[in-house]
Amino acid sequence: MKRQLTLTRDPIDEPALVSQRALTAEMGAAVYFSGIVRGTEDGATISAIEYEAFTPMVERQFNLIFDQIEKRWPVEGIRLIHRLGLVKVNEPSLWVEVITPHRAEAFAACQFLIDEMKKTVPIWKKPLA
């Protein structure tokens, strides 16, 4: 399974990422998730979220999740980008691509990845007014 994990302080260029998609002729499904900063957090209006990460552990924990995905589903490739630092409302903080032969496994693996990330990957957020 191809893995591409990027932590970046720059905006996520989704169109460029989509245009760089690579897959073999056996693959029939690509599922994407964009997690976007919303304008409210716990009922209060915010302008941005500041993301902090324990970077080497983030990489370690994402790779443990990728290991589990690789055992459970026939995934050809995952690309994941998470922003760090300040991310404004309406901008994506997370972008995930999962490529598989059929759609059910792409949806399952993508949801599993995000669910597990939210349990184990050491990234924290601070809403900014």
Binding site: E52, F54, R60
Partner: protein
Amino acid sequence: MTIRVQFWSYFKELTGCAHLTEELPEGSTVDELLKRLHARHPKLAAFQNSTFIAVGLDYQGRSHVLRAGDEVSLFPPVQGG
């Protein structure tokens, strides 16, 4: 033995500290380290039921035996995405 401790997210504000080093007897566990830190930082102790513990880059429980040079990270629940 010397153990390096890192705090993340609002645990840095609770302790007023990003990292510190602690001298512990050989064979000490994470639990012994935590008790010492909690005694010094009551605000951190108040979050002990929602404290995540990593040694190096892996999660560990309180009974985990520390070794000289270990780096212990303490942080609140993670919130990626």
